[in-house]
């Protein structure tokens, strides 16, 4: 693809902290290379804001290679921007053209309070994991991995579910701010493996109870989460979560 430069207008959500009212600020950014990543484009803007004595735009990022789940942002109404199966850090400026106006908002959900600007607190996800998203193992020498036989299909499905990076785009995309895709991925990757069986009942019950407590909405199966997930987690995991939850409750 031909390299090009562009001038853009950014409408960025600025908010001092979780208590204060936020508002949009408009910035012009010029001479942006089509080969820059989206976050590099914001870095350029921040350099300029700092140089001019202003307050830089706060946003989450870490690995910048699409695996850590830190970057967030809703770009023109799409969590992680317009590209499918892509995190914000892997979104490149060739997705935009000269003269575009880009609206950048934080992930919005009561359960994800804004820390500052585009940064939100996703601690609710950590507390859901603490409520059951783990297995208990004995200490000592590691067991030989090949000693436990696992069905190929289950291993593949578990691996696909484990690809969830916990970024929260599913919550941001859902009209109900539901966390079901995240929880379903975390329940599924353990429920599909033999190591996950002993704690399966408490796991799903505990994680759903915590999810409800955190103030996420409920799932109405619109599947916007699946469409926006940068790791393309399937909503079939939500069906599995529902099955696990029913089994956990209907058993004695």
């Amino acid at each position: 693809m031909q390299h090009y430069t562009m001038n853009l207008k950014l409408k960025v959500w600025r908010q001092q902290n979780s208590k204060s009212e936020g508002r949009f600020e408009v910035y012009d950014v010029n001479d942006i290379s089509s080969e820059m990543s989206f976050l590099e484009m914001i870095d350029v803007l921040n350099e300029k804001l700092i140089k001019d004595g202003g307050d830089s735009i706060a946003f989450d990022h870490d690995c910048r290679e699409g695996v850590c789940g830190m970057c967030s942002m809703v770009i023109d109404g799409r969590p992680h921007g317009p590209w499918q199966g892509t995190t914000t850090c892997q979104l490149h400026m060739r997705a935009f053209k000269d003269g575009d106006t880009i609206t950048i908002e934080p992930f919005r959900a009561n359960a994800f309070p804004v820390v500052k600007d585009l940064m939100v607190n996703r601690g609710a996800f950590d507390r859901i994991i603490q409520a059951g998203g783990y297995i208990s193992v004995n200490t000592g020498n590691a067991v030989d991995g090949n000693a436990i036989l696992i069905d190929k299909q289950n291993a593949d499905d578990a691996f696909a579910a484990a690809a969830c990076i916990g970024c929260g785009a599913c919550v941001a995309a859902c009209k109900n701010a539901s966390a079901m895709l995240f929880v379903s991925a975390k329940v599924s990757h353990l429920a599909l493996l033999p190591q996950g069986q002993p704690e399966s009942k408490q796991r799903v019950a505990g994680m759903i109870a915590q999810m409800d407590k955190e103030g996420f909405g409920s799932c109405t199966n619109t599947y916007a989460c699946e469409a926006e997930c940068p790791k393309e987690i399937s909503v079939m995991n939500i069906a599995r979560l529902n099955r696990e939850y029913l089994q956990s409750n209907l058993g004695s």
Binding site: G77, A177, A239, L241
Partner: protein
């Protein structure tokens, strides 16, 4: 975990929506089948006899109580969930992805449900109230001593003005969209979907959502224009 914990959880509430939804779908099938008498020759007698059976059979009358309970539970729970879900995002987005990531009717179940509720109230006033609380003319057939409610005549009166027919068709269109999301959503909530069954469930849901409301929509049209369908010796059970 006890029962109250199950049904007060977010998944439990959805299970209530799914189960009551499926119950109401079964009702639609029965209602559609009984009413299909209006399409065939000798519609007045056949339909009135079928309506008489539905109105006097003990099992059906007991099930009717369950049906009202199912409707009320589905409606109240639906509104409660909608309010709860709306309040889980206090600060709204300036730009929404809209139809790029989900279907409009999937996002509008409460709106479609409200339209169906308004239709339902009108429909009950048209037919259920007069058949339970009086106001219908009566008719007898041949040597049969039973005096039947002439519910068929009530239909002819109701569907005489074209605008009523149009409103009924709009009600059926709302129902169709509601079902288009509802059938597959219920299956997903109950955990029936997986790689193997999803496409089958979606196809059945799609077919049902089109065919059943279409048959319902044809009824007021047939009555209004006085059409009948002659399939020779083929008749309905009733």
């Amino acid at each position: 975990m006890n029962w109250s914990q199950l049904f007060s959880s977010s998944i439990g509430k959805k299970i209530v929506m799914a189960l009551t939804g499926i119950f109401l779908i079964i009702f639609l099938v029965v209602h559609c089948y009984v009413n299909a008498n209006v399409f065939f020759p000798n519609a007045q007698e056949n339909f009135n006899r079928a309506a008489h059976f539905m109105g006097t059979n003990l099992l059906i009358r007991v099930t009717e109580i369950g049906l009202f309970a199912g409707f009320i539970l589905h409606i109240i729970q639906g509104y409660k969930l909608e309010l709860q879900n709306r309040s889980s995002r206090k600060s709204r987005y300036a730009v929404n992805a809209g139809n790029k990531t989900s279907k409009w009717y999937s996002r509008s179940m409460a709106l479609l449900g409200t339209l169906i509720l308004l239709f339902l109230i009108m429909h009950l006033v048209h037919f259920w109230v007069p058949s339970r609380f009086g106001g219908l003319t009566e008719v007898q057939y041949g040597n049969d001593p039973i005096v039947f409610h002439n519910l068929y005549a009530q239909m002819q009166d109701t569907f005489a003005p074209m605008w009523v027919v149009v409103v009924y068709i709009l009600g059926c269109i709302s129902l169709s969209w509601h079902l288009l999301h509802g059938v597959q959503s219920a299956a997903q909530t109950l955990g029936w979907t997986n790689k193997k069954y999803t496409s089958i469930i979606k196809s059945i849901g799609f077919g049902f959502s089109i065919i059943v409301p279409l048959i319902f929509a044809l009824m007021p049209i047939f009555i209004h224009f006085g059409w009948e369908l002659n399939l020779g010796s083929l008749t309905l059970l009733f």
